[in-house]
């Protein structure tokens, strides 16, 4: 463990990634996780504040894809017109995130990079089959690669992001016509709770159910997870009692919650069942 001694404030992705290529850099975006993680010790000696990198700000549309700059705040998600038009579930999730003060400071990129299994904003992005844009400095220029969000997380606080990579954006394709999505999270304190359990369900409404369904869970495994078995159980099916029952059994198999100070694994599994049914019902039937 070392201490932060130096400071950089780049204004372009090129500057930022070139600095990271040298190593020993700790990236500061919103800081809501970093301030607590630092507490006097860090993995690097240089604090690099990327808040002024213009290319990482804002929400833009490029053809069929919506690009959310890594620095877009959780608050921004509640007011941005492109988000409202293409993926209101992101705004719905943002509204349940922490408090107004945290929402104003916390960034989408930070929420993803922190790779917490409880990262609320990750859930709706998983429903949208979002890709994470990673940038690094290579051969004298910026090199980017896109990683599907589903494949980004490898463990609690861990991802496939390399030490010299910067998360610069997250993007998703405009959903198909008829796409609907919903989010719910729970815990005794409504907002400031680090989710005890969070659930997202999405799909295209059809035949009394959802086709091409997407289901995602937070706080019930070492990473946010896709509910692949739930998706398989409901894909294209009319949501009668049998199908829903099968979906709940599948949900139990998709998740692997632990017991901690916030909840026992038993209760988390119970909530997964209760909330999957509720969100599924709300989304499929409006």
């Amino acid at each position: 463990m070392t201490e932060i001694e130096n400071y950089l404030a780049p204004t372009t992705i090129a500057e930022a990634t070139e600095a990271m290529a040298a190593g020993g850099v700790v990236v500061l975006a919103g800081g809501t996780d970093l301030m607590l993680q630092l507490e006097g010790k860090s993995d690097g000696t240089t604090l690099m504040n990327v808040r002024r990198v213009v290319e990482m700000q804002g929400v833009s549309v490029d053809g069929n894809r919506v690009r959310i700059g890594a620095l877009a705040s959780v608050s921004d998600m509640m007011s941005d017109p492109v988000i409202a038009e293409t993926a209101p579930v992101i705004a719905e999730t943002a509204d349940r995130f922490a408090s107004n003060q945290i929402r104003n400071l916390a960034t989408i990129g930070g929420n993803i990079c922190n790779a917490s299994p409880a990262g609320d904003m990750i859930i709706p992005l998983m429903l949208l089959d979002a890709d994470v844009e990673l940038s690094r400095w290579n051969g004298g220029k910026v090199e980017t690669r896109n990683v599907p969000l589903d494949e980004f997380f490898t463990g609690p606080g861990k991802s496939v992001m390399a030490a010299d990579e910067l998360l610069t954006a997250v993007s998703y394709a405009r959903p198909a016509a008829g796409f609907v999505a919903g989010f719910d999270k729970t815990g005794p304190r409504p907002a400031l709770e680090i989710s005890m359990v969070s659930v997202g369900v999405a799909g295209v409404r059809s035949a009394g159910g959802l086709s091409s369904p997407r289901v995602a869970y937070g706080s019930v495994g070492p990473t946010p997870v896709r509910g692949h078995k739930v998706e398989a159980a409901i894909d294209g099916q009319t949501l009668n009692d049998d199908v829903v029952a099968a979906a709940l059994v599948a949900a139990d198999e998709d998740v692997s919650p632990i017991s901690d100070v916030r909840a026992s694994d038993w209760y988390r599994r119970h909530l997964v069942r209760v909330m999957t049914q509720e969100v599924l019902n709300n989304v499929a039937n409006g």
């Binding site: 006097g40 304190r189 400031l192 100070v261 509720e278």
Partner: protein, 773 residues
């Protein structure tokens, strides 16, 4: 001059707090904000294990760090214990007995350096097995935590009244239940903080958050080998206290040791995590209660055995049975009661005093037992309670004289305001019908001392009232302002007596070198006792003023009054002379010059407990009946408390804003106790030392509150007022528990009633509880 001034009372009005404007603009300097010249910052090295021998402490690396000015360990101290049992040496020498134990402390030029130094202190331990369960701790052959406390037995209490054996024989139904109430903690918004400062003559000034500045000197001095008379206690504004600062805790003598060694002021502040780990908690307890009733609904007996988890050292928490007993013998009419309690040393954090002090724990039991007994005899919850409610003039077995006793009235008003019975019956009928959400309504009552609590040699408070040449009054009171609003009440009381505006009264109560003695702000005593003291001192001033004026005006003093800054004719309000003019005249009267300065020391007419803990230990008592309305989500287990109606006998409302604020704030504590607050302590380690994981009531969760005040004007209280602030922390939790029962037919003997507990209980009840699905 004006024509005529009518008598207008201030009592019952909404008076704003004198310190509120400064607080609203951020101008107030709390103790946490204070900086003194050349001040050092101190941090404590705490142990990371609950029970171990200390083999070696190496402070050499820490001492070498630039900016470190002093480090102290036990060897630098007289090793004298502090706390109620004097069993808590501020720095530990041979062993640690709980996770908060203090090994060493550093004073450095900055907080950052002090923290770095603490991290460099090396400690070698020999781990000892830990003892965490108080019942296990009391068993034969259990590990001994303190050599001088055989059997790990701490303080024990017992009281016996009537004949419970005969009473049991007469009972038609006997309830036999176990309860376990949990660790919660104060979570003052302002973390613990102290500044110790020696002057060149060796006199010590403590800038402290203490709630009992005078006895504090007595408790602090022995650990420091200074004379209590050489300790000056300054009380800057604090960010809450709620009972957490009614004892001397190790961090305060530690700051003194460092101040002495460095000869510079030393400020020691807790981090929030440290606050959770090292600040005293509320006393947890286990109760075995047997309670009997006749089929006509008459309570026959209560038999209680209690075990208290003392933790590693003893603070006020272990004395909460004093108050628990009062509840078990006096909450409703029960002539036959036996109570026994023992506190057992364990390797857990220790408990101190906390608003509600034992009555929170005991009323959770008695108020839910009342509900169960009512059901057993087939009486509705209101009729059953009214049947057993004491009436005016009754005295409890322990000698509490209940005076006017408004218990019955509180119950009736609460029931009427909420249409209780109709809704209770409707909800009960719906319990087993299909449906996700279940409504519940529940009632609980309690009583508490409302005229002080005579536990120390004196339960008194001193006041000095001074009038200046402008008819402005200064009130020097021994009673401390900790945010509870005694400052506003004292301005009101004195302004009322002297007929001057509230804004013309200044309260001084933050310097023990100036202020007269008060036993402390606790036990809901301050409006009653400090209020009476101030009222009597002000009345003496009034009497003297009118005596002088009567001679000057050649009328009887009884025919004069003080109103609107004037001396007036009492019968018609016609002014005789302006008060400030009269005071100046008196001041500059040459040989007969006089300043109006009066004093009073008010000792309430209560008794110390004698044998068997019998004695009328408070000058008044107050009752409350609260009704909780909940909606239980049977899918998630969430209990949504959407309304709380509180009916309380307050004697007389003095400050409308103050009394409502104290009720609403107390209720938030009670709700947290019942539904969500819990210190999760496993193997002596606090697992949730953060705001994120210790769940207090937040704005979205606060229910609608409806307050109703019963004003049975108390003969002894100032303008009839009684103490009020602890009942709101005591009554909500059992009311909620009773409401949850009404909703889903399940009782919870172990608060908090968390969603997970509700779901598990629902499944058990439905027979669908399986280990895994």
């Amino acid at each position: 001059m004006v024509d005529s001034i009518q008598k207008e009372t201030l009592i019952g009005k909404a008076i704003t707090k004198p310190d509120a404007p400064d607080k609203a603009v951020g101008r107030t300097r709390y103790i946490n904000d204070m900086v003194l010249p050349r001040m050092l910052h101190a941090k404590i090295k705490r142990t990371d294990r609950p029970h171990a021998k200390i083999l070696r402490i190496d402070t050499s690396k820490a001492e070498a760090l630039a900016g470190v000015q002093a480090i102290v360990t036990a060897d630098d101290t007289p090793m004298l214990g502090i706390g109620v049992n004097k069993d808590n040496p501020p720095l530990k020498k041979d062993k640690v007995c709980s996770i908060r134990d203090e090994i060493a402390a550093v004073a450095a030029e900055s907080e950052e350096i002090a923290l770095k130094a603490v991290a460099l202190i090396e400690v070698e331990y020999e781990d000892l097995p830990g003892l965490f369960d108080p019942v296990e701790a009391l068993k034969e052959g259990a590990l001994q935590i303190h050599d001088d406390k055989p059997g790990n037995v701490g303080l024990s209490y017992e009281t016996k009244h009537g004949d419970i054996v005969a009473a049991e024989a007469e009972s038609d139904f006997v309830l036999d239940e176990h309860y376990k109430v949990h660790y919660v903690t104060h979570v003052c918004m302002g973390p613990s903080c102290v500044i110790a400062d020696f002057d060149t003559d060796g006199k010590l000034t403590m800038h402290t958050q203490t709630q009992y500045p005078y006895n504090y000197k007595m408790d602090l001095a022995p650990a420091l080998e200074v004379h209590p008379g050489d300790v000056r206690v300054m009380q800057p504004p604090v960010g809450g206290a709620f009972g957490s600062k009614l004892d001397v805790y190790p961090f305060e003598p530690i700051a003194v040791y460092l101040a002495k060694k460095t000869r510079r002021p030393v400020k020691l502040t807790f981090s929030r995590e440290e606050e959770f780990i090292a600040s005293p908690t509320r006393q947890p307890a286990q109760f075995h209660i047997r309670a009997g009733v006749k089929k006509d609904g008459t309570l026959t007996f209560r038999d209680i055995d209690a075990v208290l988890n003392n933790g590693g050292y003893t603070s006020w928490g272990a004395t909460t049975p004093y108050v628990m007993m009062r509840t078990f013998t006096g909450h409703y009419r029960v002539p036959n009661v036996e109570f026994k309690s023992v506190a057992a040393y364990t390797n857990n954090p220790y408990a101190g005093s906390f608003r509600g002090y034992g009555n929170v724990q005991a009323t959770y039991v008695t108020a839910t037992v009342m509900d169960k007994l009512a059901e057993a005899v087939g009486m509705d919850p209101i009729a059953f309670r009214l049947h057993n409610a004491q009436e005016a003039g009754e005295v409890t077995p322990q000698g509490s004289k209940l005076g006017e006793c408004a218990l019955g009235e509180c119950i009736e008003v609460a029931a009427e305001k909420t249409n209780f019975l109709a809704r209770y019956n409707e909800n009960a009928a719906e319990q087993d019908t299909p449906g996700r959400y279940k409504n519940g309504i529940g009632i609980a009552t309690s009583f508490h001392n409302a005229g002080g609590a005579k536990i120390h040699k004196s339960d008194g408070c001193g006041t000095v009232v001074m009038l200046d040449d402008y008819a402005r009054a200064t009130v020097i009171s021994g009673a401390s302002e900790i945010g509870q609003g005694i400052d506003a009440v004292l301005t009101q009381v004195v302004a009322e007596e002297l007929g001057i505006p509230v804004k013309d009264v200044t309260i001084v109560n933050n310097d023990s070198a100036i202020g007269p003695w008060d036993v402390g702000v606790h036990a809901s005593r301050t409006t009653f006792i400090a209020g009476n003291s101030a009222k009597r001192a002000a009345r003496k001033a009034r009497d003297r003023i009118l005596e002088v004026a009567s001679k000057q005006a050649n009328v009887e003093a009884d025919d004069l009054d003080l109103r609107g800054g004037h001396i007036v004719q009492a019968n018609n309000g016609v002014p005789v002379v302006k008060l400030d003019k009269m005071l100046r005249g008196l001041h500059f009267a040459g040989e007969d010059a006089e300043l109006i300065i009066t004093t009073d020391y008010y000792e309430p007419p209560s008794e110390h407990e004698g044998d068997n803990h019998v004695g009328d230990m408070s000058a008044a008592y107050a009752h409350g009946a609260y009704i909780a309305e909940v909606i239980v989500d049977t899918y998630t287990g969430n209990v949504n408390l959407h309304k709380l109606t509180a009916v309380q006998d307050v004697g007389r409302v003095v400050n409308k804003l103050g009394i409502e604020g104290q009720m609403e704030g107390g209720i938030a504590f009670g709700i947290g106790y019942g539904l969500s607050e819990e210190m999760i302590i496993e193997e002596g380690i606090v697992k949730n030392p953060s705001f994120r994981d210790y769940k207090m009531v937040t704005p979205p969760e606060m229910p609608e509150i409806e307050l109703h005040f019963i004003e049975n004007v108390d003969a002894e209280g100032p303008f009839g007022a009684k103490g009020i602030s602890e009942l709101p922390t005591i009554i909500p939790a059992p009311a909620i528990a009773n409401a949850v029962y009404n909703a889903i037919g399940i009782r919870f003997n172990n608060p908090p009633i968390t969603p997970e507990k509700v779901v598990r209980a629902l499944m058990e009840k439905a027979g669908t509880m399986v280990a895994a699905e």
